[in-house]
Subunit: 335 residues, 2 copies
Amino acid sequence: MTRAKAPTLEMVAAHAGVSRATVSRVVNGSPTVNPKVAEAVRASIETLNYVPNRAARSLASHRSQAIAVVVPESAAKLFADPFFASVIQGVVLELAPTDYTINMIIESESQAAKTRRYLLGGNVDGALVVSHHTGDHSWAALSGTLPVVFGGRPLGEGAGESYYVDVDNAHGARVAVGHLIDTGRRRIATIAGPQDMPPGVDRLTGWREALTEAGIEPGPVEYGDFTADSGAAAMAKLLRREAEIDGVFAANDQMAVGAYQALAAAGKNVPADIAVVGFDDSYFSVSTDPALTTIRQPMVEMGAEMARVLARLIEGAPAAQVTMLETELIVRAST
Amino acid sequence: MTRAKAPTLEMVAAHAGVSRATVSRVVNGSPTVNPKVAEAVRASIETLNYVPNRAARSLASHRSQAIAVVVPESAAKLFADPFFASVIQGVVLELAPTDYTINMIIESESQAAKTRRYLLGGNVDGALVVSHHTGDHSWAALSGTLPVVFGGRPLGEGAGESYYVDVDNAHGARVAVGHLIDTGRRRIATIAGPQDMPPGVDRLTGWREALTEAGIEPGPVEYGDFTADSGAAAMAKLLRREAEIDGVFAANDQMAVGAYQALAAAGKNVPADIAVVGFDDSYFSVSTDPALTTIRQPMVEMGAEMARVLARLIEGAPAAQVTMLETELIVRAST
DNA sequence: TTGTAAGCGTTATCAG
DNA sequence: CTGATAACGCTTACAA
């Protein structure tokens, strides 16, 4: 079962009776080629079933037509993290119809140098860095050398340099709290996320803004680390601090789920005694009882947008340095 | 901001005072090179921060050091399907420390030809096809030309040809049913999956085998399509057929979740009146009330194993044509 | 053990 | 508008 040798550009040239240069032009859609000749070449390509060799092409053109998608190892280890899965899905679907190839690469501490060199070694035309909630832009240094687009707002310095696509967390939080207010809640607490992660900060800010703008005194704040357990603990503390809380905004669904437990333990009914709204619209939100009102993040869209921005960057086209994606309030039974 | 030209193998050779061939040998770990020389070359590589150009390398060697991961488009569109996410995670983690690059590619009907040519065009050294529950091996034809490893048992003809890694569905089902029997259930029904998908078939078979082997008359069977709604409908039918069912094995967690609804509607208590066990150990299983007893599939491990088998195939090493992965019974509150 | 030199399949620069 | 003819950076017989 010998594999037939793949036809080369040269063979096409011979078959069509033109030079290799001409075939190359046709393949690359150069306008400076006689229509008739082009047609003939295309016919030859068709009959020979020719497909250009990527390696040769990128060696000669200095473009790899490849895009790296970098995910932190920690994330890759999480069991099917829906955030990453969705973002990557968006990237892949967006790039599928283009000529770009997607190189999935894992950023692990131990291989940091290897990864850097891979990226800088001309193996890819650009990189997409998905940094979950951490705001970690340790790859920012690459930006000067290689087009890079980040997912999530960068934290701290270097922020001004990089291109990124993010979800408008503050706005989402404001909408969530606004919904609580609209439904008559007046003593609204929050279970905030870690303050060293942009989403943690922004969602807390949004909560506070919505309240002060509405002329309502912000309720108590407790912090969690985005896990259900931390949410339960935070809710318990909140309850201990103030029994009259009638609404709580959790910075993510998992903490909201944890809050449910603490609430149940305290004999509080959701939403009768206290309304709760989460953030993410993860699968937790539908499987809880009562189903959780939450803020949906357009994760797939985020991946797609990142890919679009990167493509523009690679092609030298102007691109927005920061793209904010809108969230959406999903009202369920918890409010 | 000019990007410093990447160092080439030639520059390393000059720096180390040897020929390019020698540097190449060192880079590729050839044993026929003087240790001292090799060391010197490595030092030069280090100081120059040299990283081999992939395109040139594969052009010259006819190996791409790349592996394609093919996912059906339908799956990619599902919201963060945990099955795919986990399998891919396994693949990526397994391949990360190797020199293989991972090319994610989506198999869409409209681009089938393009994908085929990409795979056959020498762009990758092998391919991993993740075909969820469908058993679709339409890519089997590639096997003759390119090393390919499938995820999931192939359906029908061509099965004998291809390499694949699968979860032992029948055994998992037997264990699930065995657990039901062990806990005293005697009238055990099943909500089976589609019979045109290997897992659907195998899990039904396992259910039947466990029962007959235990000398228990198999209970009624109803079919679903792996969705929660279909599970609810199937459970309702089951109840209508026989009120005395005291145990049910759902071919996946989602259908088990659906069954919960039908059971609640019928005033049945889980697990007092009827025990239910699912399959997959998806996140649904923990968020239900009561938490679902289920069979865990080693999805991440499946991806890793697929990668391992493919690597062996590419390197011409002997590899098992079929690898069966063991499942695990996870006992929770529903039984 | 090491070096020489001929490619690998395209693109790109120049002439024509 | 088309055709030579160098690169592109690396691997690999073949020699030495």
